[in-house]
Amino acid sequence: MIMKGQKRKLPPEDMEVSDTSSLVWESQRQFVFSVSLNKYQRGQELPEPSLRRSVLIANTLRQVSLEACRAPSVDGEMSQPPCSSSFALQETICTGVPAGRHQSAGMFAANSPSALPNGPPVPLNHPSNCAASRSPGNCHYTASNDPFSVKDEDWESMSADPDFSLSAAISSILTALDSSIDGSPQAAPRTPLRSLENLSGPPEGGVAWVKQGVRGYGGSWGQQEECRVRESSVEAAYLSDLTVEDLFQDIDTSLLEREMGVLGLRGSGGGYPTGDDLLRYLPPLSSSSSSPSHPFSLPLNQNLKCLPSFSSFSPLSSSSSSSSSLSSPPFSGQNHVKEGLELDHLMEILVEA
C-alpha cells in the first residue's frame, strides 16, 4: 500500500481496538510506541527537525505510555500505582511490562549486543525485526526452534524467579548505562523542544538526559528490549561467548538521551535533575524489598532504599570508562555486594540460555 508493488503483512488494522485490555490493543500500542521512538530519534539526527512533527510524535509517545499505565495488565496481576501526567513515562516502569514477560526481559537483556549495535540508534532494529513478521504482536513469537519461542501464557511457568531476574537484569543495565555515559561518542543533540534559548543549565545536560532516560525509561525500555532482543535471540545462540562487559558496552545511551529530551521527564521542573531525582525513579535492585508481584508496581518511595547512591556520581568525570562500568561503579558500599549478587545471577541466566 505504501509503495506500489510492495506487499505488507500487517495484521488487520481495520479493527479499531479500543478495548484496552486486549492483547491486540497492547500489541498495537507497543508497535506505535516503538515506531514513535524510532521516528523521534531519527528526527533528532536531522540538523533541524520539524518542530510540528517532533511535537506530534512526542505527544503520541506520551499518550501511548499513558495508555499503558491506564490499561489493566494482561494477566491482571499487577497493581497500579497512581499515574500523573507529569510522570507519564515513569508509569511504564511500574506497569508497562506485563507480568508474563518479565522473565523474558531478564533473559533477553543478555542478548543486548546484537540488538543494540553501537552505531545506529537502537530502535531502528526493532521495526525491521518486528517487521519480519509484520506484526507488533508477533514480536514475541519467533522461529519455532527458538528456545524462547513460547507463548505469553507459558512465560510465567517457565521461570523460577521471574521478578528477581527481571529487576536484576534491568537495573544492571540501567546502572551500566549511567557509567557508560562517557563512552557515548556524540554530544547531546539539540532537540527542537530545547532550543538554544532555553539552555540555562550546565553543559552536562546531555549526560543528565541519559540519566533521565535511565529514570524514565527503565521499564518501557525493557519492554522494547524484550521485543528487539527476542528477535535477536534467534541468531544469538552463542550467549556463553559473551562477557557481561561486552553486553553493557553496546548499549546505546544516545537512545535514552533523546527520548528524555522530548518527553520532558524533568521531574524537578526546569534545570537538570539531581541524583536524588534519579534515586526516586529507578526500580529496586533486588527483589528482597519488592512484593512478590511485579517489582515495578511498588510505590515510588519504596524504591528509595534499594537504589545505589547517585549523588556521588559526577557526570563529567570519567569516573568510569565504559570498559570498567562494572568494575568500578560509583555506588555506595552496600550496593556493591548486591550488585555482585545480581551479576552472578545474570551470569546464571546467560549460562542457562
Binding site: I2, L10, L51, R52
Partner: protein, 447 residues
C-alpha cells in the same frame, strides 16, 4: 559522426520520470484579479504565469496561462549561530492588492520574507544629451544643440526586484503569511510565534502571538497556519497542531495570547485511537471570501466553521475516510504528517482540497456531494474533460475504481489555488502545475 547512429538507441524514458527535487512546487497563489498566478518551488524560485487576454472563444474557454516571469526569490542560507542550513524552499506566496501598474508579492522561506516588485518595461528613453546610444559619455565639445529624450517602445521586459527583505523575525519555521485588509501590514507565523509587520519597515515587527512555553519540554502544541480576516483588519485566526482554531482581536490587547474565540470540536470517544491527535492537527485554515466562515483541513477531513459558533464545525467533509483504518501504516511511512491545503471557490459554495494518488476533491456545500478528480498528465490531453474518479471502499466495484491499497502515496496534491472570480483552479502535483477551468457545459456543471 559515428556517435549519431547510436544516440537514437539511448532510452531516455527514465529522464521523464526523474523529478528534480528543486522543481517540486511548494506553493501556488492567484493574485486578486486572477490574471497572474505565482508558484514557488523547493529550489527557491518563483514562476509567475500571466493569463493571455484572448477573446473568449465559442466554447467559453478563456485565455491560457503562460510564463510571465521567473526569478530566484530565496537562496540557500546558513545560520552561523546555530550551524544550520536554511532551506530556500518557498513556503508561501501572497500577492498584495494592486495599487499601480506594478505588482507586488510576498514570498517566504523558513526564515525570511521578501517583498518583490514585478513591473513591466516596454519603453526606453532615447536621445540623451550627454550619453550616446551605448551609454558612453559624449565629448562635450561635439554637442551643438540640446534635444529632449523621447520614450521609444521596446520589447516587453518584465523586471522583478526585491523591494524589502524582512529577516531575523523568526526563530522557528515560517509556515504562513497573510496580507492584512488594511493594505499596510501583514502577518507571518512560525511554529510558536506570529509577528505583524509593516510593509515599509523591515527592521522591526510586532509579536502578536507567542505560545512558546517557558520550558520547552512543556511544549505540546504548535501553530500550523494563520490568516487575517478578509475584511476586518483587527481580526486574524490561527490553527494549532491539536486541532483548535483561535480567533484573535488585536484591539483587545497588544499580545494576543488569549484568544477572543476558541474553535474546537469535542473529540468523539468512539473513534479515538493512538493517532487521534495527529490526524486532528489542522494543516491549513482559510477564511471564506465573505469572511463569515472558516475552512480547515486536517488529515482526514475538511471542515467549515461559522465564526459565530465555536462549539464545532457546521460542515464536515470526509476527504479520504478509507485511510482511517490505515493510520498505522501511514504513521510509519510519515504520510500522516502531510499538510494538505484547502481553498474556497469565488462564491464560497464549493471547497476543494487535495489527496493522494494525484487525486483532489471538491465538495459542493449546498448539496454536500463530493467529487474526486485526478491531476495526471497522461490522461489529460489539453481541453479534455476531467473524469471523476472513485476509490473503491466496498460494494459494487465499477470500472476505473482504484483500490485503497493501490493508491500511490508519493503522488500527493498538497498545494492548490482557486481563481478569485472564475472557476479556474491551479493544482500543483509534485513538479507539475495543472490549470483546469470549468467549461460552461451543462454536463460538467455541478461536478
Amino acid at each position: 559522426m559515428g556517435e549519431d547512429a547510436e544516440s537514437p538507441k539511448i532510452n531516455h524514458t527514465f529522464l521523464r520520470d526523474y523529478v528534480t527535487e528543486a522543481d517540486v512546487i511548494s506553493t501556488v497563489e492567484f493574485n486578486q484579479t486572477g490574471d497572474l498566478l505565482a508558484t514557488g518551488d523547493k529550489g527557491g524560485r518563483v514562476v509567475i504565469f500571466q493569463r493571455e487576454t484572448e477573446e473568449v472563444g465559442e466554447t467559453g474557454d478563456s485565455g491560457e496561462y503562460n510564463v510571465y516571469s521567473t526569478f530566484q526569490s530565496h537562496e540557500p542560507d546558513f545560520d552561523y549561530l546555530k550551524s544550520l542550513e536554511i532551506e530556500e524552499k518557498i513556503n508561501k506566496i501572497r500577492w498584495l492588492p494592486q495599487q499601480n501598474a506594478a505588482h507586488f508579492l510576498l514570498s517566504t522561506n523558513d526564515k525570511t520574507i521578501k517583498l518583490w516588485k514585478v513591473s513591466e518595461r516596454d519603453k526606453r528613453p532615447e536621445g540623451y544629451n550627454l550619453k550616446d546610444e551605448e551609454g558612453r559619455l559624449k565629448d562635450i565639445s561635439t554637442i551643438t544643440s540640446l534635444q529632449v529624450p523621447v520614450l521609444k517602445p521596446t520589447d516587453l521586459m518584465v523586471e522583478v526586484r526585491p523591494r524589502r527583505v524582512f529577516s531575523n523575525g523568526h526563530t522557528y519555521h515560517v509556515n504562513s503569511i497573510s496580507v492584512n485588509s488594511d493594505g499596510e501590514t501583514y502577518l507571518s507565523a512560525d511554529d510558536l510565534r506570529i509577528n505583524m509587520w509593516h510593509l515599509g519597515i523591515t527592521d522591526r515587527s510586532f509579536n502578536i502571538v507567542d505560545i512558546k512555553p517557558a520550558n520547552m519540554e512543556d511544549l505540546t502544541e504548535v501553530i500550523t497556519a494563520a490568516e487575517f480576516h478578509p475584511h476586518h483588519c483587527h481580526l486574524f485566526v490561527y490553527s494549532s497542531s491539536k486541532g483548535t482554531l483561535r480567533l484573535c482581536d488585536m484591539r483587545a490587547s497588544a499580545l494576543c495570547d488569549r484568544h477572543t474565540k476558541l474553535f474546537e470540536e469535542p473529540e468523539d470517544p468512539g473513534s479515538r485511537s493512538f493517532f487521534s491527535e495527529i490526524i486532528s492537527s489542522v494543516s491549513d485554515v482559510k477564511f471564506s471570501h465573505s469572511g463569515r466562515y472558516l475552512l480547515t483541513r486536517d488529515y482526514l477531513t475538511a471542515k467549515v466553521w461559522d465564526l459565530n459558533m465555536d462549539k464545532g464545525p457546521v460542515e464536515t467533509y470526509q476527504v479520504h475516510e478509507y485511510l482511517r483504518s490505515k493510520l498505522c501504516s501511514l504513521y510509519e511511512n510519515d504520510c500522516i504528517f502531510d499538510k494538505f491545503e484547502c481553498v474556497w471557490n469565488s462564491s464560497d459554495s464549493v471547497i476543494m482540497t487535495g489527496a493522494y494518488n494525484s487525486f483532489f476533491r471538491m465538495f459542493d456545500r449546498e448539496t454536500g456531494r463530493g467529487v474526486t478528480l485526478e491531476a495526471w498528465r497522461e490522461s489529460s490531453k489539453p481541453r479534455a474533460v476531467l473524469r471523476t474518479r472513485r476509490v473503491y471502499t466496498g460494494g459494487k466495484r465499477r470500472r476505473g475504481d482504484v483500490g485503497v491499497d493501490s493508491l500511490d502515496f508519493t503522488k500527493k496534491i498538497l498545494h492548490m489555488a482557486w481563481h478569485p472570480s472564475e472557476n479556474i483552479i491551479a493544482i500543483a502535483a509534485t513538479n507539475n502545475l495543472y490549470i483546469f477551468q470549468d467549461r460552461v457545459n451543462p454536463e460538467t456543471q455541478g461536478q
